[in-house]
């Protein structure tokens, strides 16, 4: 297990190094000079040069890359071209919205998907299964922004249980903050739950057809006991894969939901920075997201090994 962890860790570091190079290169070759964009087309060449020096755009690319990477390692993400404040502060502020939102949504989605998937698999072909499958079909099909608006209409405008948008902030206490994240989290969670429930069901059905499930029944376990004791853990590999992918997506992919609910999240930050050619912010947020994805994959790999002893043995 130690060797496996070490190997995964090494692969995590290499992936991060490669990703940072690619992100830097791609953003460098993208057209548009941030300095001239900030000053407009009528700017004086001297002012432009001064701004370029100030932003650190006049040094060689290799040096810029190294400054950027070492800066990030020490928590210094540079200064935003547009807002002139440290990128690290901006990102941290947004992360305090996006990270809890993603975790909230993922928790909800897992809490819905697991029972639904297990229930459907245990009742394959019966009305219960068809009902769950129909519901998941709907969950995948409904666009989440529309669903978000329906949530606002019902729970914010009609019932007045939640606010229609905005983020209360953590200063107001965890309850108020989580409350303002509840509707967005539901809107994000539902389509993910539908997908996860389908994956859970099909993974379980695959396992239910395995020989060892018949062995378990021959020992005297009831169908339900066999499913819980022998089926579930074997079905976890595909489910964990999807959970990992969904978390990475939820972290930044909720931009539409952030717009609908006026949430100051990472998705909106990245969108605004791209429009403003604030490349340093785009670079840093992208790198952060890449780090999140790779780190989540690392965790998923460790979870695989915890679930399946054969993976521990292989490496």
């Amino acid at each position: 297990m130690w060797r496996y962890t070490l190997k995964r860790l090494l692969s995590l570091i290499i992936s991060l190094a490669v990703a940072s190079l690619v992100i830097f290169a791609v953003i460098e070759v993208a057209p548009g000079d941030p300095a001239s964009f900030m000053l407009g087309i009528s700017a004086q060449p001297e002012t432009l040069a001064a701004l370029r020096t100030e932003l650190g755009l006049d040094v060689p690319k290799v040096q810029r890359y190294l400054t950027w990477v070492t800066g990030m390692l020490t928590g210094d993400f540079g200064t935003s071209y547009t807002y002139r404040i440290p990128v690290a502060d901006m990102v941290a502020q947004r992360l305090w919205v996006s990270l809890p939102l993603a975790l909230y949504a993922l928790t909800l989605s897992t809490l819905i998907a697991f029972p639904a998937g297990i229930y459907a698999a245990a009742r394959r072909g019966r009305p219960g299964d068809m009902g769950v499958m129909g519901a998941t079909q709907l969950g995948v099909a409904i666009p989440n922004f529309w669903f978000a608006m329906m949530l606002v209409l019902l729970f914010a405008i009609k019932l007045r249980w939640f606010s229609a948008g905005g983020f209360a902030g953590w200063d107001e206490g965890p309850f108020a903050a989580m409350r303002s994240l509840t509707l967005p989290a539901i809107a994000l969670a539902l389509p993910q739950a539908a997908i996860l429930a389908r994956v859970m069901r099909s993974a379980l059905l695959d396992v239910l057809g395995e020989d060892f499930m018949r062995t378990a029944r021959a020992k005297g376990l009831t169908a339900r006991q066999a499913l819980w004791r022998h089926g579930l853990r074997n079905a976890m590999i595909p489910v964990l894969t999807i959970i990992g992918l969904q978390f990475s997506f939820l972290l930044a992919g909720g931009i539409i939901i952030e717009q609908v609910f006026y949430l100051p999240g990472l998705g909106r930050l990245i969108f605004q920075s791209i429009s403003a050619r604030d490349l340093i912010v785009v670079e840093s947020v992208t790198m952060l997201l890449v780090f999140a994805v790779i780190f989540v994959n690392f965790c998923v790999d460790l979870a695989y090994a915890a679930v399946d002893p054969r993976l521990r043995a292989r490496t």
């Binding site: 060797r3 070490l6 190997k7 090494l10 395995e210 020989d211 060892f212 018949r214 062995t215 378990a216 029944r217 021959a218 020992k219 005297g220 376990l221 009831t222 004791r229 022998h230 853990r233 074997n234 679930v307 399946d308 002893p309 054969r310 043995a313 292989r314 490496t315």
Partner: protein, 537 residues
């Protein structure tokens, strides 16, 4: 009174009849074998006794175990019986165990389901049971996972799970079919010992008459869901009443007579061939290990010769086959056909490839289900520089199909329209169509029922006479190799340990490994029965 009494058992799945008034008894301490070909309903009989039938199954009749009728018991009571009073061992040891739980936990589970035992006590009992089936604690700790054990050892774990509660009835469904002959002999001996020691009734399901001939007290022969004959083993074998039983027996020990040929000049020459595979690194930056699957193998196959290759799983047979066909590069040595290397540079030598063909084991997996037979058997034509077209192509198809006993009209059918035996004929037609000089039969009859196997062996003998074939026949089944080859190679752990005339090797093996293989192979008693009509048709 008998332990298990099955009376007039009828079974249908989605109103499709599977079993028809099956009746038999198993007494305590008795070993009863149920035998028959695929589709005879023998496994369904076992599952019916366990009441673990697939969805949609309807069963009527009575299955009495010690006075209670299993078909009428509610599910909770059946759960209490399964594993406690009836144990079951399955065919596939590789998949019958949960891969993510330790063997100790899996054996202990059987005990904990049925008794109020503490975890520690259940573990102690599991350790005792595992020791009883030949997996002592010091060498096979309870913390082992199934993937850390061989097939035979896994089957021992499955047996331990089944007998942990000392059930009165043990059902074994083809328990040794997936195992090598030497392992098979050990598992059969173990099952017999356990049944005798515990006075368990043992209901043994197998397609292999030879397996049961010397271990079962009684034999039940099934065909198409019905029992055609049952009786004491000795009496039944010496006085077979039903023609199907006689056919089954004759087909199991079917021999063919190959036409006499004088081996010509060497055709296939294999010289000092070794094939290595890399194994995972032991340390993070260490060198990867090397596993030598084929180790310094040399032999010659003469033109017109029928050569056999026998050995247990993992001995390197398949690796050697792939190397012979030029599918993989070897690390050292040379393989030549008529003096030409099968592998030149980094790619197979096409000039040689078109002169050899192969017939694989699985008649279901080796065809593309979306192509018609004509297209399937013309596949080898792509090896030719000028493949026949139009009427020449049609003629080749007709000839190949006729040669294997099928009709030219079959060319327009799809593969799912044929039975396993017919598919294997089509596979042979596909190999024959470019008139190869060498055919490799890789376990080509291993997946077939005995009666079908007998027919394919006859076909092989006929084709030998018609086309003077040269072939390499690879099999783990010694009795088959004995009848269709002139010479045989015995392979163990990547090396050829003995080779010589087939009859000489089988009657007087010299190498200890060959001796143990031949000793372990189950044989039917010699009853000198006439070959019933219709078998070779």
């Amino acid at each position: 009174m008998s332990l298990l009494s099955v009376q007039n058992l009828d079974l249908s799945i989605h109103s499709y009849g599977i079993l028809k008034s099956v009746s038999f008894d198993v007494a305590a301490g008795e070993i009863v074998a149920i035998t028959g070909e695929s589709g005879s309903g023998k496994s369904m009989t076992a599952l019916a006794v366990m009441q673990l039938l697939p969805a949609g199954a309807q069963c009527s009749g009575r299955i009495m175990l010690d006075g209670s009728n299993l078909t009428a018991l509610p599910e909770p009571q059946l759960c209490a019986l399964r594993g406690n009073d009836i144990g079951m061992v399955f065919q596939e040891p590789m998949t019958a165990l949960n891969p993510v739980k330790t063997i100790g936990a899996q054996v202990a589970e059987t005990i904990r389901i049925h008794t109020r035992t503490s975890k520690a006590e259940a573990r102690d009992r599991a350790a005792e049971t595992l020791a009883r089936v030949g997996l002592p604690q010091d060498r096979f700790p309870l913390s082992r996972y199934p993937h850390e054990l061989s097939g035979g050892q896994r089957q021992r774990v499955v047996i331990a799970m089944a007998i942990a509660r000392h059930p009165r009835l043990l059902i074994a469904d083809e328990p040794t079919t997936a195992l090598d002959v030497t392992t098979q002999a050990q598992i059969l001996a173990l099952l017999t010992r356990l049944a005798r020691e515990d006075g368990m009734g043992l209901m043994m399901i197998t397609h292999d008459l030879a397996v049961v001939a010397d271990m079962a007290d009684r034999i039940i022969v099934m065909r198409q869901g019905e029992i055609v004959e049952q009786g004491e083993t000795k009496a039944l074998l010496h006085n077979m009443k039903h023609p199907y039983t006689r056919m089954l027996f004759a087909a199991s020990s079917h021999r063919v007579t190959l036409p006499q040929t004088d081996p010509g000049p060497p055709l296939l020459e294999v010289n000092g061939v070794s094939r290595d595979y890399r194994t995972p690194r032991k340390t993070l930056l260490g060198k990867p290990g090397v596993f030598r699957a084929v180790d310094d193998v040399s032999f010659t196959l003469a033109r017109g010769e029928r050569l056999g290759l026998v050995g247990e799983s993992g001995c390197g047979k398949s690796t050697l086959t792939r190397a012979l066909l030029g599918l993989e590069q070897v690390q050292s040595g040379s393989i030549t056909l008529d003096g030409e290397p099968v592998f030149t540079g980094n790619r197979p030598n096409l000039a040689v490839r078109r002169r050899m063909q192969v017939v694989f084991q699985d008649p279901f997996g080796s065809f593309n289900p979306r192509h018609r037979v004509a297209r399937q058997i013309c596949e080898p034509f792509h090896l030719l520089e000028h493949p026949p077209t139009g009427t020449a192509r049609q003629k080749a198809i007709d000839e190949a199909l006729t040669a294997v006993g099928l009709s030219p009209t079959d060319a327009q059918k799809y593969i799912h329209e044929f039975s396993g035996g017919q598919r294997q004929r089509i596979a042979i037609a596909r190999a024959l169509i470019i008139r190869p000089e060498l055919i490799v039969f890789d376990e080509a009859v291993s997946a077939l029922d005995v009666s079908v196997r007998a027919q394919i062996l006859d076909l092989l003998a006929e084709l030998c006479a018609a086309y003077s074939l040269s072939y390499l026949f690879i099999s783990h089944d010694l009795s088959v190799v004995r009848t269709v080859t002139d010479r045989v190679l015995v392979m163990q752990a990547g090396r050829i340990v003995e080779q010589g005339e087939t009859e000489a090797i089988f009657t007087a093996p010299e190498h200890p490994y060959t001796k143990s293989l031949i000793a372990a192979a189950p044989v039917l008693p010699d009853l000198d029965l006439p070959d019933p009509k219709g078998l070779t048709a």
